[in-house]
């Protein structure tokens, strides 16, 4: 098949079987990634079962050499056997794929690319509100790469599939950048990953590699458990309700409209003979009563998602807690929280006025984390004492790395290696504090944000109030001279909320003029306690 110019129905079926078997190997891992739209941890299972239904249907054909017949059977099997959100979307991918191959007995590279494109188009259309960063984006990106590969000289179906697999991989890795829920949970999109793994298996069955390799598991940053002090939603997830309306007496849109108000994640797909419905609802009976007006209901499947969610949490913990310890950081702004979170803090407690944060609140966060060893970074000198009280309040092992400023906190965070043992991390993080100086300046002691532009500027070096002046530049440059700046290579300016971009860059250029060897970076971190926090290291 490696050098074939055309694929036939037998090829399509054997590629599908190979992809499905490949996916089966990582079903638990895919399940553990499943946080969107509902963290119920069944995405991998659902995709696998949907694909299995496809294969079963296609294998019933007396002759599997006809491409069109095989693709149609796969699509029909997927629709009948679709499970869960990802399964239903997958059935639509197959539907588009089959539509594009209608009447085809064999498919060329260009046919394959166009079939993938049609698959993406149909899947997008099936959703009333398509969300990027999901399986949809992955099929779209894969199709785009396939089309582009097919338009090069001398494309083969395999080269098109290879281009699609590479693009899918890249697309999966990019999903957290598109979907906040994924970024917060520190995972990639499960459905998208499932699709990628399926395609990878299909490709490897031709290229070789199924025997001595295992499916590549893509990962994002360190898995993150909780993001902010906000209490997690107590809202019930309800029931994942799925069924088929046989010989539906009305169009898909009407069914959609009738059910819309009864739940979320609604999908109505298929054709009048077989209309598949998927919805997350608190009132499954009401959904069934409403839908039964349109035709006979079959293949009814109702799952309690709250129960699923509980088992998901266990699964998630089991799959994600491969590390000895996690970091909890305290910050004073959203911008700073994002930095700590991107650097791998499992949880960030954000409180604009740190003095209002109590040990109990920190404790509550620590108790929630599915880890028994925790490194706490107070990141503020006024927070230090409160933080030091925390270890005695919990049975968990908590080490406070006494970071008195954001620069110290970030230096400690960068020294954190998730694979390393707790004690090693604590030692390394403590060690990291010695190499960094902190300058903090503010003009707004009175609380008046704009006082800084006219009034007195106060500066602190490593927590000690050192100097006053009439401009930020004056105070900062003065303080820099008190550090061992000749030894430093890196200076970072964290800009407060009241500072404009122009002001920040003016300060940067003034420092650069005096210290040309320094690598200077400006970060818009938006804190309100200091107009500038500067690290020198």
């Amino acid at each position: 098949m490696l050098t074939k110019d055309y694929l036939d129905g037998n090829d399509i079926l054997s590629l599908t079987i190979a992809g499905t078997k490949w996916l089966e190997k990582v079903v638990p891992e895919i399940n553990a990634m499943n946080v969107y739209p509902v963290p119920d941890g069944d995405c991998g299972t659902n995709m696998f079962l949907t694909l299995s239904a496809s294969i079963e249907e296609a294998s019933k054909l007396p002759d599997t050499s006809q491409t069109s017949a095989v693709a149609t059977a796969i699509a029909k099997g997927a629709l009948m056997g679709a499970r869960g959100n990802s399964g239903v979307i997958l059935s639509q991918i197959w539907r588009g794929f089959a539509e594009a191959l209608k009447e085809k007995s064999a498919i060329s590279a260009a046919d394959l690319a166009h079939a993938l494109q049609r698959a993406a188009d149909v899947a997008y259309k099936a959703l009333s509100n398509p969300v990027e960063g999901t399986i949809l984006t992955v099929i779209k990106d894969a199709a785009k790469a396939a089309i582009s590969r097919a338009s090069t000289t001398d494309p083969s179906p395999i080269s098109v599939l290879e281009a699609a697999v590479l693009a899918a991989r890249e697309s999966v890795v990019n999903t957290p950048n598109l979907l906040e829920e994924l970024r917060e949970a520190g995972v990639l999109d499960a459905g998208g990953h499932g699709l990628y793994t399926f395609l990878e298996g299909a490709l490897l069955s031709i290229k070789g590699g199924l025997d001595h390799q295992s499916p590549l598991l893509l990962s994002t940053q360190l898995p993150r458990i909780i993001q902010s002090t906000e209490t997690p939603t107590e809202e019930a997830y309800g029931y994942c309700t799925q069924f088929i309306i046989k010989d539906c007496r009305t169009g898909l849109e009407k069914v959609q409209t009738a059910l819309e108000s009864l739940g979320t994640s609604l999908l109505v797909v298929g054709e009048p003979a077989t209309t598949r419905v998927h919805i997350h609802t608190l009132e499954p009976q009401k959904v069934l009563d409403t839908a039964s007006k349109f035709g006979e209901l079959t293949n009814i499947d109702i799952n309690n998602m709250d129960e699923q969610h509980q088992s998901f949490l266990l699964l998630h913990r089991e799959k994600m807690s491969a590390f000895d310890c996690v970091v909890v950081a305290i910050t004073t702004s959203k911008g700073l929280s994002k930095i700590f979170s991107d650097l791998g803090a499992a949880a960030v407690i954000q409180q604009e006025q740190v003095t209002e944060l109590t040990a109990l609140e920190i404790l509550r966060m620590i108790e929630q984390l599915p880890a028994d060893k925790i490194i706490l970074l107070p990141n503020h000198r006024q927070m230090l004492e409160t933080a030091l009280n925390v270890p005695s309040l919990t049975k968990k092992q908590v080490a406070v790395v006494p970071t008195k400023s954001i620069p110290q906190g970030i230096a400690a965070m960068i020294a954190f290696v998730p694979e390393s043992p707790f004690e090693t991390n604590v030692t390394e993080m403590l060690q990291a504090l010695t190499g960094v100086h902190t300058i903090e300046v503010t003009g707004s002691i009175t609380g008046d944000k704009h006082a800084s532009k006219t009034g007195q500027i106060t500066g602190w070096l490593d927590g000690e109030k050192r100097t006053k002046g009439s401009s930020f530049e004056e105070v900062v440059l003065d303080l820099l001279n008190s550090t061992d700046i000749c030894q430093a290579s890196l200076l970072t300016i964290y800009c407060g909320k009241a500072i404009t971009e122009t002001e920040a860059h003016l300060l940067k250029s003034q420092i650069a003029a005096r210290h040309p060897r320094l690598d200077i970076e400006v970060v818009n971190s938006g804190q309100t306690d200091y107009d500038y926090i500067i690290s020198v290291e």
Partner: protein, 283 residues
């Protein structure tokens, strides 16, 4: 007795003159860049690769074709009956498997040739150092079994650490460590490497900025090289030889280098990692 000959692949990043001097035979890894196939180092040099790097939309690698190995076996069997091969970590590439298949094919027609294939469980200059020591042993007249012993000993000693500008290329290539950080913020450079001889890429931490990353690499090396202990060092660079020179300077002032090299990452390595600087070493 005829001397053993040594084969490795283009992952090894050895200096050209050492390859020539010790008669090491290189197998080119297959590259596909923007749809066009290349034989690593033969049809594309590091310089040429970096000239086109910013326009690289598609980069994939594959195990060399079986004929690459069988051709090399035929060529070498003209002046020896013993061949020792060391290839990039089998956990990262199909090269080892392909070589084993090629060996089977070749031996059918040449049953009197002896071929040994070793999994380096590493990459870059760490693999290069294994090949180099094997070649030295071969030149000293050691038997195939002895050369293999040298290789096996070296496999447990060589290490390398690498500071990446970004993880994105390694992720694309599917060889990133499991807890890779994607965050490309504040010049945080991921430090990866292979120091535990497990054959897979390990996460070794992070550092901010170029200078601190270099210091971190030296610090990692110093965990394995005791003060004053004679050390073998190979520094690698990609798009900036100046970075390589700076890192080598730091290594020389910190360690007692009895052997030191500065080499560019080969195109296959560069394509997987993007811009980096790295250090391979052993004691």
């Amino acid at each position: 007795m005829k001397k053993v000959r040594v084969i490795t692949d283009t992952i090894c990043c050895l200096p050209d003159d050492k390859i020539r001097q010790h008669n090491i035979r290189l197998i080119p890894i297959s590259l596909v860049i923007n749809g066009k196939p290349y034989r690593d180092l033969i049809e594309i040099t590091p310089g040429e690769f970096w000239k086109m790097f910013r326009d690289v939309k598609e980069f994939t690698t594959g195990a060399p074709a079986l004929t690459e190995f069988t051709d090399a076996f035929s060529e070498l069997s003209k002046d020896t009956d013993s061949i020792a091969c060391v290839f990039v970590s089998r956990a990262l590439s199909g090269t080892y498997e392909a070589a084993c298949q090629a060996k089977g094919l070749f031996l059918r027609d040449h049953p009197s040739t002896n071929i040994e294939i070793i999994d380096s469980r590493t990459a870059a200059g760490a693999q290069g150092f294994i090949a180099l020591e094997m070649a030295r042993a071969a030149e000293a007249g050691k038997s195939l079994a002895e050369v293999v012993k040298v290789a096996e000993d070296m496999v447990t000693r060589v290490k390398f650490a690498c500071a990446l500008e970004t993880l994105k290329y390694l992720i694309k290539s599917g060889r990133a460590p499991k807890t890779a950080y994607l965050g490309e913020l504040m010049q945080v450079r991921p430090i990866i490497g292979m120091v535990n001889n497990t054959g897979v890429v390990e996460n070794l931490g992070r550092a901010r900025g170029k200078e601190k990353s270099m210091e971190k690499l030296i610090e990692i090396a110093s965990e394995y090289i005791k003060s004053g202990q004679p050390a073998h060092i190979m520094v690698h660079y990609t798009d900036s030889i100046e970075d390589g020179q700076q890192l080598l300077q730091m290594a020389k002032s910190r360690f007692n280098c009895i052997e030191e090299y500065l080499t560019p990452y080969t195109p296959v390595m560069s394509g997987h990692t993007g811009p980096v600087f790295a250090v391979s070493f052993y004691v």
